[in-house]
C-alpha cells in the first residue's frame, strides 16, 4: 500500500504489485524469497518485509545513489 501511496503523490514514482508465483522469472531475477519484497529500480535497492514508511524512504534514497 505504501508503494501505491507514493505513486499517487509523485509522478516520478511507478508502483506495481507482482504476484510472485504468476511471474516466477521476474521473482527469480530479483531473488525474491520472502514476501512482501520491494524491489527498487530494477535491483538497485530492495526492502524485505512490511517495513515502516521512513525506512522505505531511506532505501529509495540509497538506491538512487547506486
Amino acid at each position: 500500500m505504501l508503494a501505491f501511496q507514493m505513486a499517487m503523490v509523485s509522478d516520478k514514482v511507478h508502483a506495481e504489485m507482482v504476484q510472485a508465483r504468476e511471474f516466477p522469472e521476474l521473482s527469480d531475477q530479483f531473488h525474491v524469497h520472502g514476501v512482501p519484497h520491494t524491489n527498487i529500480n530494477q535491483g538497485k535497492g530492495e526492502a524485505i518485509g512490511a517495513i515502516p514508511e521512513a525506512d522505505l524512504v531511506h532505501e529509495i534514497e540509497a538506491a538512487l545513489k547506486n
Binding site: 507514493m6 516520478k12 507482482v18 504476484q19 520491494t38 527498487i40 514508511e53
Partner: protein, 148 residues
C-alpha cells in the same frame, strides 16, 4: 464460473464504495495465449467489483490487439490492472499497476487503492511527501507478494 465475491463481501464493498468521490477506471490487460492462468479469474473479479458501484468502470483489453494502449500505460505483461481516476473526459494515470490476481491480503490493498485513487488522498507523513515531491529521478517500486 461461480461468483468470486460472496454476498457478505458484496455488501461490505457497497458500503465502502459509497465514499468514492471520483470515478475509478480499471484498465485490464489480458492476452490471447493460454499460459495466463488467472486472466479469466481477474477479469471476472473486476466485473464483479464494477457491478457494485457505477463509479467503478472496467475496460478490458487483449494486449496483442491493444499495443498502443499498453504502451501508453507501460504494460508489458499480463494479467495487468492499471488503476486510474477519471476527471471529465480524461484518465489520470498514477502509474499504479497490479500484475496477477489481487487475492487474499492483496484484495484489501486493491480495494484501498481504488478508494485512494478515487479520493486523491494518502496518509503519508509530511516528510515523505516532501521527499517524493522533490524527486528528480524516476523510482520504480515492484512489490512482490504471494497469495495468502
Amino acid at each position: 464460473m461461480a461468483n468470486l465475491l460472496n454476498k457478505d463481501i458484496l455488501r461490505q464493498l457497497s458500503e465502502i464504495f459509497k465514499a468514492l468521490s471520483r470515478p475509478v477506471v480499471l484498465l485490464f490487460f489480458n492476452d490471447n495465449s493460454d499460459h495466463c492462468e488467472t486472466c479469466e479469474q481477474v477479469s471476472q473479479l473486476l466485473e464483479e467489483i464494477a457491478s457494485i458501484s457505477n463509479m467503478i468502470i472496467v475496460k478490458q483489453f487483449i494486449i496483442e490487439n491493444a499495443q498502443q494502449v499498453a504502451e501508453k500505460y507501460g504494460v508489458e505483461k499480463t494479467p495487468a490492472i492499471v488503476v486510474c481516476a477519471q476527471e471529465g473526459e480524461n484518465l489520470v494515470d498514477y502509474h499504479i499497476h497490479f500484475y496477477g490476481i489481487p487475492s487474499g491480503m492483496e484484495f484489501e490493498t486493491f480495494i484501498q487503492t481504488i478508494m485512494m485513487v478515487s479520493n486523491g488522498e494518502t496518509d503519508l507523513e509530511k516528510e515523505t511527501i516532501a521527499f517524493l515531491q522533490d524527486l528528480k529521478k524516476p523510482v520504480h517500486l515492484q512489490v512482490f507478494v504471494t497469495p495468502t
